[in-house]
Symmetry: C2
Subunit: 402 residues, 2 copies
């Protein structure tokens, strides 16, 4: 059982899997070629075919990823907060694996490595159910991981690929709480909503990232423009990208023109509320814009009446992912940090910082917008849980301690 | 909104509610009398009628409970692990309320106070759906809590009683993830299984407590007898009571006779495997006994072939609640603590210690046998979650820190 493997064994397996990938490049490319040929024959969209391709650079990326996970600290077995109770027993917590993690994902084969390596390092068994269009690639990648497990003396069954790729296989995987402890869906919104709706097994999910930056009346406006620009343009396609900019009405006329100019020069389309459009040129934003994750060079802008209105907008239209305030005012920052109901709340920093590496967690399996169990970037710790441990020396309940 | 109430306000509300209960004794008894009369008229079982009764002692208990919860530390707003990252941002975690907690419970009206006080102290709004047979009592108790909230200047709507007591009301409550963040069912196994099966909202559940004590070949046998006796007989009806005693074959003949004598003298019925019955007199245990929570003076006993067999039995037949080993051997204790997959794992201590007060958590809303989010006794911390907070001063992503 993988849960009782030592840190050294798990690291050995990860490093051996990295070497196995390096050695198997020809094998991987041949397997990937089968998937690519089928995808083209089936008329798959070029963007999807592109995501499916295992280029030499992507294989390099997987190898680096495995070595990084090997270098992360092992969360399993950590004991904390042991303290003596009046009865004489000691009570604390020990971090342990969750057990069996099912990963359901779409066409990108590198998810196979990301997911399997994090699950392995955290002492969990993994059941991987990728898309049918990537089955040959996923099987070839999993074979490399299994070689790594084997070299480290660990059971190859700790990482399994579901060979049946129809929808029924997903249905089965998500309805067996006796055998699967948690499901992590990785992919588009449709997949994640479907899995969450039908699952009988707990799901760690990552839905939209409708992230906001609020520029307060007490903001350093130039800092605000830098932060908003970075939050929008660092990368349009990441879930931490800003989708809506909120500006206090007291500074809108001063803040927005220079902001708009910078964004427009970068090619970002602006959509604004009426008060925004009184100050800068922008397409009229519709109600739907406030709850849209563009993942594109489009930005909605709304002028709001102060802090409470900004918080209300974020909690109502946002997706509880990551939201930021720009302010130099301490009281305002305290209220915003406490009351915005998101997995990450930021002060004077762009939302695009929402990322496991930037947070010091290392690789992540996703960014959870759930409140229970894991919230925000989910790294090794999110794939484990804590149990209570109690140590005594014969203390009994209902009797005074000696 | 209750989530932004200060610690002082929440404590004031709890203490005012305690006083309101004290003042409203006559009112509470009259309301309870209506429920009791209806229960008797409907031919409810005497045991259930007894559970329904709000005696003066039970009202005292509720008042003490409220004051205890007021005296517990407030978990909300605690910030931990703030550290600088290479980018120059600071990243840490802040503990915050979950939001709205739905409590579904059966006839004991004191659950109204237990649940509402813990939810209030942890900054959550509560929707209470008790059984129809206790509706007058629950309404009168909730009115006292609402008086407390009102006195502290908090919205009375933070604690609500569902007035509709048919099953459809439960169905509605558990299928609105937009409005309810988590459901805590309190009651019998049937209720909890039904709620868990049908819920679309996350559930913190507490199922069986099939708890084991394993007496190893390296145990101090007299200590083992004391621990096993206490684990079984401290109280038969609590979920931490031992239901199965496992004994290493090497010491069974020495350990069991004196153990059996003590248990039999206390009136405990013994059911044993074949090897047990070769050493002491006992009814033959069936396969079903290993997975039965007796909550009664009945104990099943099995002789096993050492540590691994004991762990395998516990992980297979147990309910992942609380399990203990009695041993003086360090290596054995390390393996048992790491590999037994239960919410509490104990060394040389009886399983009946599994309790929020004994662990220093204060009052608990239940003992979770889930792995995700809250495991073991669920107190104030289990009713909250942590979000990431990020503090910067204009740091941008993709640019080297200054």
């Amino acid at each position: 059982m993988i849960g009782r493997a030592s840190t050294a064994q798990k690291n050995r397996a990860l490093l051996a899997a990295a070497n196995a990938l390096d050695v198997a490049r020809a094998e991987l490319s041949a397997a990937n070629e089968l998937d690519l040929a089928a995808a083209r024959a089936n008329g798959l969209e070029p963007a999807l075919v592109e995501r499916l391709a295992l280029t030499p650079e992507r294989i390099d990326g997987m190898i680096v990823g495995l070595r990084q996970v090997a270098s992360l600290p092992d969360p399993v077995g950590a004991i904390r907060d042991m303290s003596y109770r009046p009865s004489g027993i000691q009570v604390g917590k020990m971090r342990v694996p969750l057990g069996v993690i099912g990963i359901i994902y779409e066409s990108r084969p590198n998810v196979t490595i990301d997911a399997a390596s994090l699950c392995l390092k955290s002492g969990n068994a993994t059941i991987l159910r990728g898309g049918s269009e990537a089955i040959h690639s996923n099987r070839a990648i999993a074979a490399c991981i299994q070689r790594g497990l084997d070299e480290a003396g660990l059971p190859a069954a700790a990482v399994q690929v579901v060979e049946v790729t129809d929808r029924a296989a997903v249905g089965a995987l998500i309805s067996m709480p006796e055998y699967v402890d948690v499901i992590v869906p990785r992919g588009g919104k449709g997949l994640i909503e479907r899995v969450s709706r039908d699952a009988r097994v707990p799901v760690i999910k990552h839905l939209d990232g409708i992230c906001h930056v609020y520029v307060s009346a007490h903001a350093d406006l130039e800092k605000g423009r830098d932060i908003a620009f970075n939050a929008k343009t660092y990368r349009y396609g990441i879930c931490g990208a800003m989708e809506t900019l909120l500006v206090d009405q007291a500074v809108a006329a001063e803040f927005l023109p220079a902001m708009a100019e910078r964004l427009r020069a970068k090619g970002v389309e602006l959509r604004g509320c009426e008060r925004t459009r009184a100050v800068i040129e922008a397409v009229a934003a519709s109600e739907a814009d406030w709850s849209t994750e563009y993942l594109a060079p489009i930005l909605s802008i709304r002028v709001v009446d102060g802090l409470d209105a900004a918080i209300e907008h974020i909690n109502r239209y946002g997706s509880h992912h990551t939201d930021a305030i720009v302010t130099e005012n301490l009281g305002e920052s305290r209220v915003f940090m406490a009351e915005v109901d998101s997995s990450s709340v930021m002060l004077n920093a762009p939302t695009c910082f929402a990322d496991g590496f930037e947070y010091g967690l290392g690789a992540e399996i996703g960014i959870s917008t759930d409140k229970l169990h894991a919230r925000g970037p989910v790294g090794l710790e999110g794939l484990t849980c804590e149990k209570y441990i109690v140590v005594g020396d014969g203390q009994l309940r209902g009797q005074a301690a000696v």
